[in-house]
Structure formats: C-alpha cells, structure tokens
C-alpha cells in the first residue's frame, strides 16, 4: 500500500513553486490596490467611511488632502472594493512584506491623484539578491501572541511541498534558544504579554522579530480591546512587518526574505 503511494508521488509532477513566482505574489490575500485614475475626493471619502479597521484614512498635509492606506491595519474585507466604484481593485502583486512600519503605508494626493510614496523595494532588486540570501541558514521560532490561528495555518503551510521553506535554509525550531528570528502572530493579549517578553529574552542576539498579519502589525480587528495590550511592537522591538489577514504563504516567504535582505544590506 505504502509502495503504491510512493510510486504515485514519484510519477506526479513536483508541486514546488519556484522562488521567482513567490516573491511579490499575493493571490488569495484580497489586499486592496488603489486605481489612481478613478480616485475622486467623493470616492475617497466613501472609502474611509466603510473601512472597519481605519486602514484607510484621510489626512491633511500642507493644505492638501491625502488618502492614507495602512496595509498593516487592512484585513482585506473587500468593503472598499464594493464602495470604490472601480477606484479599488484587488492587488495582483504585493511587495510590502517584511518592510518597516513606515513602508507598510501608502499615500495618495487626492486632488492630483498622485502617489506620494515610493515602492518599498522592487521585485527585480529582491530577485537579484536572492542568491546571496540562499547561501545562509536561518532558524525561525513561531510565536502566537493571541492570534485567531489563521496566521498559524498559513505559516504551517510554508513547510508543505509547494513552498518548502527548507529549500532556502530556513527551519522552524522548537526552542527560542535555537532561534535567529521570531515570527510573531496575533495582537498581544494581556494574558500572553509576559510570555512574549520572556520568549524574546530567551533568543540569543542578534535577533530578528517579524510581526505577522494585521493583528501583529497593528492589532487589526482587535485594536482597542480591553483584553489586548496592542500590536507586537507594543511589547518587543520589531524589525519587519508582514501585512495580510492572514498573509498568504507567498507573502510570508517574501516577508522573511525581505527582512533577511535588509539585515544583510545594513
């Protein structure tokens, strides 16, 4: 019986997704993308009214109105897409993974319809540097600070035969004492705050921390609850942010590699 299964596996085509196809891929994440030609002041107003997590906001800057989209707060609910009359599409490409908190924010001048924020890093740049990243090993400890388990499901998927994170020399380890990187999901609950700090302390320096998902980046839909302390950076220092609710495995790969790239480029 087991022989049949192994034989079958050998006959099947490999399901491994090449790294070039993973970087910047966000299929299934429902991340919004602003279509600038369609953006009017009225539509922008509508967008900020429907957004349930205030990921979309309007702000004044030197007398001009700007639409602010904070991907770290976005849960991809799709309400802006419904209300946007074509001004909001589902993103087909997303590189703001593993970036700084500032880089998870995009700004558009509403009157001139121009984007005020540069692209975090070009996929070409990341691809060019990928081989230097792949000569290294990285031990990752996943830490749930109060997540709904959506992010856990996607992080667990990184070890399946499609993503196979081990090919990059990246391993999940059981103890924080063996870890180089902490992948933290969820808003930090009151009941977990102490354990998060203790786990962070247990990691040998130098340590990298990645806040994963809308909750980890900003508190997400749970922001303001009496039972949470806040986002991950309210409790421990964070090196990179991976938006999404939950981020897809491709976004997680992009994010982990981007944090590494930035670390090495330093």
């Amino acid at each position: 019986m087991i022989g049949d299964v192994i034989e079958r596996s050998l006959r099947q085509r490999s399901s491994l997704i090449p790294v070039e196809a993973l970087l910047g891929n966000c299929d299934g994440s429902r991340m919004p993308e602003i279509v600038m030609d369609r953006l009017t002041p009225d539509i922008a107003q509508k967008l900020i009214e429907v957004c349930p997590t205030s990921a979309l906001r309007m702000e004044e800057h030197e007398g001009r109105r700007r639409l602010r989209l904070s991907y770290g707060q976005c849960i991809g609910c799709g309400k802006c897409g419904e209300a946007g009359q074509g001004a909001v599409a589902v993103a087909t490409h997303f590189t703001r993974c593993g970036v700084t908190k500032e880089q998870t924010v995009r700004l558009w001048d509403i009157d001139s319809r121009a984007e005020m924020t540069p692209l975090a890093s070009s996929p070409e740049e990341a691809r060019g540097q990928i081989h230097s990243l792949l000569q290294r090993a990285l031990n990752v400890r996943q830490l749930d600070a109060g997540s709904c388990n959506g992010c856990e499901a996607e992080i667990a998927a990184l070890t399946n035969p499609y993503y196979d994170l081990e090919r990059f020399g990246i391993h999940f380890v059981a103890s924080p004492k063996h870890a180089d990187m902490l992948l933290v999901t969820g808003p930090v609950t009151r009941n977990m705050a102490e354990a998060i700090k203790a786990t962070y302390e247990a990691i040998p320096a130098p340590k990298l921390v990645v806040a994963v998902g809308a909750c980890g980046c900003s508190g997400g839909i749970f922001a303001g609850s009496h039972a949470i302390v806040g986002a991950v950076d309210a409790v421990i220092p964070v090196d990179g942010y991976v938006p999404g609710c939950p981020p897809t495995p491709a976004m997680l790969v992009t994010g982990i590699l981007e944090v590494l790239r930035r670390r090495i480029a330093k």
């Binding site: 019986m1 087991i2 049949d4 299964v5 192994i6 079958r8 596996s9 399901s15 299934g28 429902r30 349930p52 849960i75 991809g76 609910c77 799709g78 419904e82 589902v90 996943q142 749930d144 109060g146 997540s147 709904c148 388990n149 959506g150 992010c151 856990e152 499901a153 996607e154 992080i155 667990a156 998927a157 070890t159 399946n160 035969p161 499609y162 999940f172 059981a174 103890s175 924080p176 969820g186 808003p187 609950t189 009151r190 009941n191 977990m192 705050a193 102490e194 354990a195 786990t199 909750c215 997400g220 839909i221 749970f222 303001g224 609850s225 009496h226 039972a227 949470i228 939950p246 897809t248």
Partner: protein
C-alpha cells in the same frame, strides 16, 4: 430566538431571586443536552442569564433567569455547565452558589479582582498580581510537568499541568484563555454588517463557519430568508472548510506519530484545495464571502464547477491516503486505545462534533436542526463508540468523503437568482443560530438595536470540548499526549475568544 422556540421564562418575566433552574427534558425522556449559558444586560443594567438546551429535533430551547442575586450553580448535576458558570462569574460578576471550582477562568493573574468587563468600564484596567492555585496531586514519586503557554511548534498557546508517575499521566489540568481577546465585548457597537469580520477572526481555520453562523443569527433575528443560491454557495463553503480541516487533522495525527509520507501528502492535498479555492473565489479560507443577507459577491458557475472537480480529485486522493493510514500496523498500534473518551463522560460534558460522534453520541446540527441549504440534502452522520484516537480519525475520514460528495451535489444543482437580500435591522432584534462547524456545534446569539450590535455571545465547540480532553489522557503515557490532543483538534482562540 424565533417565536416557535419554547421559552420557560420568556424575556421580561422575572422569576423570584434564587429560583432554581428546572432543567428541561429531551424528547426521549432524558435530560436535555446543555448547549450554552451566557449573560446579557436588560434595561437599567439588569443582568439576565440565558440557558440554551437541545431538546431534540427541531427546536433549541431557551430559559432566561434574572441574576439580580446569587445564582444557584447547576455544575454538580450538569458538569457541562462548569466552565460556562465560571465565565459568567468572570465577565458579569454574577455570584454562583455551590460551584465546585470558581477560580478565575478567562482572566489571569494580571487582572484585578472585582472588574467585570461586561458590566464595568474597562478602558484602562490596572495590572494586578493574583495567585492561581493548580490542583496538587500528592504521593510518592509524583512529579509535575508544566507545558506552555508557549509550545514547541506552530500552534496556539495554552498551559498544561501534568502530574505524572514516571511516564504515566495521573492527572492533567488545563489553563487556557491566553488568547482571550475580549471578542464578545468588541462586538458591542459594531454595525451588524461589520460584526461578520469579527466573527471571521474568532477561530481562523473555522472562519467561514463562524461567519455563516453569525450572519444566520442576524438573518433569523430580522426574519429574512436568504436567497437559495446564497445558501447553496454557503453550504459548499462550509463543507469545503470541513474537508480542509479534516485532511489537515489527519495529516497532523500522522506528523505526531512520525508517519511523514502521509503527513506530507495531507499538507499537499490541503494546499491544492486552498489554491483551487483562490481560483474559484479569490480567498483561501473564504473570508469576506458571507455577509448578513447572503454573499458579498456572486460565484461564477464555470469556476464553481472547476472547484467541485478539484474537490473530487482531492477527495479521491485523500481516501487512498486514508486507507493506507488505517491499514498500517504501526499506526493502528499508536491510534487504538489511546485517549479513550467514554460515552458517559462525553454526555456529562455535553461534547459536540467529531469527538462526540467518536464516543457514541449521534449528534449533528446539519441533520438535527437543518439550516441554510442543508434541508435539501441527506446528511450521513458516522458514529462509532470506541472513543479513542482511531475512532476520532475514522470519523473525520468518513466525514471528509461525505463533505466532498455534498460539494458535488450542491455545485451540480446551484440555483439561479441573486445571492443577496438587504437586511433591515433598525429595531430591537434578537437572533440565535447554530452551525455544525468542522469541530462541532457552533452557536451565535446576537442582539442589536438600531443596526448596531448590543450583545453577541459565541458558543464555540472548542469551549465545550476542552474540559473533556484532560479526562482522556489519565493512564496514558506523556509521549502520547500530543497525539491525543491533536485527535481532539480544539481551537485555543475559538475557546478563549
């Protein structure tokens, strides 16, 4: 709750303080199964306690008692009520008389005494230091092993306190609610529509069941009938979620006994399904699909048919893997007789879902209290009485095949028409809904005023099933604990909320 549901103390009628609860009988003459207990606030801050019971097809029964004084505990007669009553005490400050164990459940050492989130202001709660006493098992050679809240894997946090002699577990005490996020309180003030997104974040891998259960509660409250095309698509989503969860669970069981080939196959099949779902509706876990009144968008018939084909293929492959797993002697050796949950204990704790069905309790919301599109389908409910890891695995394997078949049937006969009907929820409304999630009976009770949620209670199957898990590990070796725990597959976040 719908009008045809009997209510012993209808809302508004006050029983005198200290009135004992008369627990309803089920239709077969036994004591009705406890579904949930929760509090709500009436005018002028009056506290009410709601007891919901399953008295048999088709109705759920609700009893509402005033809680203007201490409440008599029913936990000694109905052990399933124990955690519910502790939560009432923690959240509403209701005194429970005669409870065998009233230690704090939801809030930990950092929470000050006398602050009750559902009745007090909680914008700036000070940090405190209380002491929590674990049960002490004493005797020669007995050691304590403390595990968690941070576990050695990609899993959720919780604390397990084992008392062991050598390798053998004598007693296990749980301490959970590390992921408590105050979700029920957060619903308050949300628009009825936006409540869906919070429901989707209660338990991520069962997010569609939560979304559908919440939206159904709102729809029941407003008395609207969702278009049949929407209920058919929801059925496909609910069964897809069950299929994915069960495949993932079987893979997890194989991981825990070191059977890597089958485990890798299961993760591959799960990912194949998630990607097929992206092709069909743009989301892996069906977030942002359900909304009160139906669906956020219509499903393309061609893509839905392709999705059904992908499901059929995955199901065929899974049944082969499943057969291999069940026929492997070393697997049988580990799965059989491990972590036995007897029928009586299962009944006492009112467990639900695959765990209940593996312990001889014939229970399935889809068949017993049909909702959405389930009235149009024949639901096969596999039941076995062994109550061990193998029984729970067999139930999941049988259910996965049935779910795949239901998806085929529903996709073949997808009704035409719209997928959304506007919900008008301006007045005072109350609604209840139950859904058979992959982990079992999930319930939402929603109260809203002027289109804003004023109270939302979530009874998750994990909250009900967690207390049963420790009973099954006594007498097993500690190395079998991860396997037994996985065979229950309970959600920490769903339990803690």
């Amino acid at each position: 709750m719908r009008e045809d549901t009997p209510s012993v103390f209808p809302n508004g009628e006050r029983a005198s303080p200290g009135t004992m609860l008369t627990f309803p009988q089920s239709k077969d003459g036994g004591r009705a199964r406890l579904v949930t207990i929760f509090g709500s606030l009436g005018p002028h801050g009056a506290r009410w306690v709601h007891y919901v019971c399953d008295v048999g097809n088709p109705a759920y029964s609700e009893i509402v008692l005033p809680a203007d004084g201490p409440l008599q505990s029913i936990a000694r007669e109905v052990p399933a009520a124990a955690w519910h009553e502790r939560e009432l005490h923690d959240q509403y400050g209701i005194q429970i008389v005669g409870h065998p164990d009233l230690r704090p459940l939801v809030f930990h050492d950092n929470w000050p005494d006398g602050v009750y989130p559902m009745i007090d202001r909680v914008d700036d709660v000070p940090w405190s230091k209380r002491e929590y006493r674990f049960l002490q098992v004493q005797g020669e050679g007995i050691a304590e092993v403390a595990v968690g809240p941070v576990h050695a894997g990609i899993i959720e946090p919780g604390h397990f306190r084992f008392s062991v002699v050598g390798d053998t577990i004598l007693h296990l005490e749980l301490r959970h609610f590390y992921t408590h996020k105050g979700t029920e309180k957060l619903f308050e003030g949300k628009s009825v529509e936006d409540g869906t997104m919070l429901a989707e974040s209660v338990s991520g891998d069962n997010c569609f069941a939560h979304a559908v259960c919440y939206t159904q509660a709102v729809e029941n409250a407003c008395g609207i009938d969702v278009p049949s095309r929407a209920t058919a698509v929801r059925l496909i989503g609910l069964e897809y979620e069950r299929l994915v969860c069960h495949i993932s669970d079987i893979g997890g069981l194989c991981t825990d006994v070191g059977f890597s080939v089958a485990a890798a196959y299961a993760t591959r099949l799960k990912e194949f399904l998630l990607q097929a779902s992206v092709q069909c509706c743009g989301t892996r876990y069906w977030r942002g699909v359900a909304v009160p009144g139906g669906l956020r968008f219509d499903f393309d018939p061609g893509r839905t048919a392709e999705f059904a084909q992908a499901v059929a293929r995955a199901s065929r492959d899974f049944s082969k893997i499943a057969r291999m797993i069940l026929e492997t002697p070393s697997i049988q050796n580990r799965f059989e007789t491990a972590g036995v949950l007897g029928r009586e204990a299962a009944q006492d704790l009112a467990v639900v879902g695959p765990v209940a069905r593996a312990s001889g309790i014939d229970l399935d919301v889809r068949r017993d209290h049909p909702y959405g599109g389930y009235g149009n389908h024949r639901i096969e409910v596999p039941v076995t009485h062994y109550g061990d890891v193998m029984a729970r695995a067999r139930i999941r394997i049988a259910e996965a095949a049935a779910s795949a078949q239901l998806i085929q049937d529903a996709a073949k006969s997808l009704p035409d028409g719209s997928v959304f009907i506007p919900v008008t929820s301006q007045g005072d409304i109350q609604g209840f809904s139950a859904v058979e999630s992959p982990r079992g009976e999930l319930c939402y009770w929603v109260e809203a005023r002027g289109g804003r949620v004023t109270r939302c209670h979530i009874k998750s199957p994990s909250f009900q099933n967690w207390p049963a898990m420790p009973l099954t590990v006594a007498g097993n070796i500690i190395a079998d604990f991860p396997l037994i725990n996985k065979s229950f597959n309970l959600s920490y976040s769903g339990c803690d909320r």
